[in-house]
């Protein structure tokens, strides 16, 4: 099994016409710097964030960092 492949992922990069792969991606907010596995285009590096992640975990971490 190819670990880079993000299975059950129906989204493609529209520009590069490539399937997305799970890769470590740097995210940062205020004083926080993290690396998380996120689907991205292997060619242009555009990172995919879905709604559940944005209004769920990401929002939670944002609020947490804002409270520090």
């Amino acid at each position: 099994m190819n670990e880079d492949k993000n299975y059950n992922m129906p989204w493609l990069c529209d520009k590069c016409k490539r399937e997305l792969v799970l890769k470590k991606v740097k995210v940062r907010y205020l004083e926080g710097n993290f690396e998380v596995d996120l689907p991205k285009c292997p060619e242009c590096n555009m990172v995919f964030i879905d709604e559940e992640m944005a209004v769920g975990k990401m929002l939670e971490v944002e609020k947490e960092l804002e409270g520090k």
Binding site: W11, L12, D14, C44, F48, A54, K63
Partner: protein, 756 residues
């Protein structure tokens, strides 16, 4: 932020102060806890509460002379709560013998107690408990002194005997039939580490310190009738206990007087609002003592005096169930944290800063002032959560941008400048031109118009930097237009002008309508009743209050005042930017206000109108009474969406420029796009909940179509695009249908994704 001053203010809050009964009681019996247990029918626990503070509770509880009752706040509303009768009931139904405790070693020293009455027994008991070897001298053949006077009246012989036996069993030595005179006292003072004198009478005048009970500077301490000069049972017991504490300090050689401020009876700083207390008559007794049911009923009459005035009237303090006292302590902690989570941030940003607390407070404490200072400090220290106020501050920026802001004069120079603020044009774009025309024809001296935002959002957000910048711009405009009198239509503007621009004279639009008469006859037929929800920002502006009522009367309405009106009005839930920082808190304000009256409401602040109507309440803006064509529609008209508010402001500017000044506006508010957005209702709600504007959404879509940077899902034929605008990344999921774009969802995040 001056945290010492904050804590001083916190200390002045009387929320935690004891009720009058407890502070008056020289042993500080916790009356509220006591009646609380009794009300629940738990007599055992009620007795335990009593026992904690009252020595020999079974005896004193039956014969106490209850000074507490004289100060009971209930006295004028059906009569004082019969605390003494409740104590008797607690003794009867709740007494259980104390558990056997392991005796302490009596190694602290030796003390002689002279006199086996109430004060002597109390002193002996307390000293024994503290670890002293106590010898109790009594002139008669039994302990108890005047307790025996109550035998067969309030006390059974067996009860007195049991209590005395229990005292002796503790290990206190008793010397009965031993009269102590002055000479013998001097000898005892030499033999023992200290002596307590509780003989009721003594052969010479003693110089007894009223707080420490020390006689002169000797090792002798005196209490009871000798010190109190009265027959009070409870004061006698109290003096024995307090003298015992002095003896302990004396033997340990520590200060006799330090930190003893609230010993004995004192006057509580607590105040309790007596207005509106329902009178309830005291419960009578069918026999000598209350039955359990009678006692439960009487306990229920206790008001449990505690100052909760500000909490009860404020949806914010209610939601966080916090008194200003603890609130300020939490702010103090929040301000001092260096590493760690600032847990109070959410609470601090949930205060509407309406100022009602100060109106309610006996001490004049203003949480509005505290919160303002706190938010400013948070901003200065970089600890203000950005997301709480970001949208509102961007909204302010929009209002002061070319899309809305403008200044136009009537002729060369006008004496008045109409400044409608930012929210009125956003909520009621159709009224602005009508008002302006009214002013032009009614104000001799002429009236210009100035569109913009006064800066209230910056003030609420603690952003003094933006606030000052904005004030300077307004000041300069005022200078440039020849120092006109401002005509204000927004209460927040009024309060900002009062505070930050005292040099600019202003008059409220409502005063002008009330004085000059209404522009059109919108007088309704039949008698209609309205209740005024005054704007909190102008709670002290009597001219505005009167003008609003005058306009309503001129329009044919009768006004029924709300409980909280004028200087005591409540906030609608928008103030302090709470609508953005804590939507649930904002909704509480709306809900509580709506519940206050069944009448339709009359408001004069656009945000009050929008929030109350959004909450389902029939609400009129004062301008509806003057200009509305369909009152039914006006009553329930819902607030425009956040995006529409931008559009409405821009349209007001465009409309005025074209219609009145014949100018073509120099702006491209509605950018030409090669697509048309279709936004379904569920997405519209998402946009409101997530503070996403259609203009930003369009920007994301447009950019993705031009650059090709987007994801595609062939299964559902959807595109997903992202664009970072300023400090937020917006995501839009959409489907292309020729020149139409169907938006499927929108969301955003503030985190930055490094695409590399």
């Amino acid at each position: 932020m001056d945290l010492d001053k904050l804590l001083e203010t916190s200390d002045s809050c009387i929320h935690d102060e004891p009720p009058a009964c407890t502070s008056c009681c020289p042993v500080h019996m916790d009356v509220i806890a006591f009646v609380g247990e009794m009300e629940k029918g738990d007599f055992d626990k009620a007795y335990k509460v009593m026992e904690k503070r009252v020595p020999f509770a079974r005896i004193i509880g039956s014969i106490c002379d209850h000074p507490c009752e004289k100060v009971c706040v209930r006295s004028d509303s059906g009569g004082t709560v019969k605390i003494s009768e409740l104590e008797k009931a607690a003794v009867s139904y709740g007494f259980s013998p104390p558990k056997n405790t392991i005796p302490l070693s009596k190694s602290k020293g030796r003390v002689a107690v002279i006199g086996g009455g109430i004060s002597g027994m109390t002193a002996a008991f307390e000293l024994d408990k503290k670890g002293y070897q106590v010898t109790l001298y009594e002139k008669s053949d039994r302990l108890g002194g005047r307790i025996w006077d109550y035998e067969g009246i309030a006390l059974k012989k067996e009860v007195i005997e049991e209590e005395i036996a229990a005292l002796v069993k503790q290990g206190i030595k008793t010397e009965l039939n031993t009269l102590i005179n002055k000479k013998r006292l001097e000898e005892l003072a030499g033999e023992y580490d200290a002596v307590y004198l509780g003989t009721g009478v003594w052969e010479e005048e003693l110089k007894i310190h009223p707080e420490t009970f020390q006689v002169g500077d000797t090792s002798v301490f005196a209490g009871g009738k000798l010190a109190n000069n009265n027959d009070s049972v409870i004061f006698s017991a109290s003096s024995g206990r307090r003298a015992a504490a002095s003896v302990d300090r004396y033997v340990k050689k520590i200060s006799l007087s330090a930190s003893r401020e609230r010993e004995g009876s004192f006057e509580t700083p607590l105040k309790y609002e007596t207005e509106g207390i329902e009178p309830v008559e005291a419960i009578g007794k069918a026999s000598d003592i209350y039955s359990e049911d009678e006692a439960i009923g009487e306990a229920g009459r206790c008001l449990k005096c505690r100052c909760r005035k500000c909490i009860e009237s404020c949806s914010h303090l209610t939601r966080f169930n916090i008194s200003p006292k603890s609130y300020m302590r939490q702010i103090n902690q929040n301000e001092r944290i260096i590493l760690g989570t600032h847990y109070a941030n959410k609470m601090i940003n949930s205060c509407t800063m309406c100022g009602l607390c100060r109106e309610e407070c006996f001490k004049g404490i203003s949480m509005k002032a505290v919160i303002k200072e706190t938010r400013e400090s948070m901003v200065r220290r970089g600890k203000m959560p950005v997301s709480d106020h970001d949208f509102a501050l961007k909204d302010m920026k929009f209002s002061n941008s070319k899309y809305f802001s403008m200044v136009r004069n009537q002729g060369e120079k006008a004496e008045y400048l109409f400044y409608p603020g930012c929210q009125l044009p956003a909520s009621y774009p159709e009224y602005i031109g009508k008002i302006y025309k009214y002013l032009v024809s009614n104000m001799s001296g002429g009236a210009g118009i100035y569109l913009g935002c006064c800066g209230a959002p910056a003030d609420w957000a603690g952003r003094q930097d933006l606030m000052q910048e904005n004030i300077e711009i307004i000041k300069k405009t005022w200078e440039d237009t020849g120092r006109p009198v401002f005509i204000l239509a927004c209460s927040s503007c009024c309060s900002v002008f009062e505070k930050y621009l005292p040099e600019i004279a202003f008059v409220s639009l409502w005063e002008i309508f009330a004085r000059k008469g209404l522009p059109q006859n919108n007088r309704i037929s039949g008698k209609r009743v309205l209740s005024v929800h005054d704007a909190c920002a102008t709670r002290h502006n009597k001219e505005i209050h009167d003008s609003i009522r005058r306009i309503a009367t001129l329009s044919g309405y009768e006004i029924q005042e709300l409980k909280y009106s004028k200087e005591k009005t409540k906030c609608c839930g928008y103030g302090g930017l709470v609508y953005f920082a804590n939507r649930e808190q904002s909704a509480d304000f709306v809900k509580h206000r709506i519940e206050e009256s069944d009448n339709d409401l009359l408001v004069y602040c656009a945000m009050c109108k929008d929030l109350l109507a959004e909450g389902g309440k029939r609400t009129f803006h004062i301008l509806d009474l003057i200009f509305a064509e369909d009152m039914e529609r006006a009553a329930l008209r819902k607030m425009p969406t956040l995006s529409e508010r931008h559009g409405n402001r821009a349209q007001v500017k465009i409309g005025l420029l074209r219609e009145i000044w014949g100018e073509e506006p120099d702006m491209d508010y509605e950018k030409q796009r090669d697509f048309k957005l279709i936004i379904p209702e569920n997405v519209r709600q998402q946009m409101e909940d997530r503070y996403i504007l259609s203009e930003d959404m369009a920007e994301v879509i447009d950019s993705s179509r031009k650059s090709g940077e987007r994801f595609f899902n062939p299964q559902e034929n959807s595109c997903l695009a992202r664009l970072r605008l300023d400090n937020v990344t917006y995501w839009v999921k959409y489907e292309e249908k020729d020149e139409k774009i169907l938006v499927k969802s929108v969301y955003s995040h503030r985190m930055e994704i490094v695409e590399e």
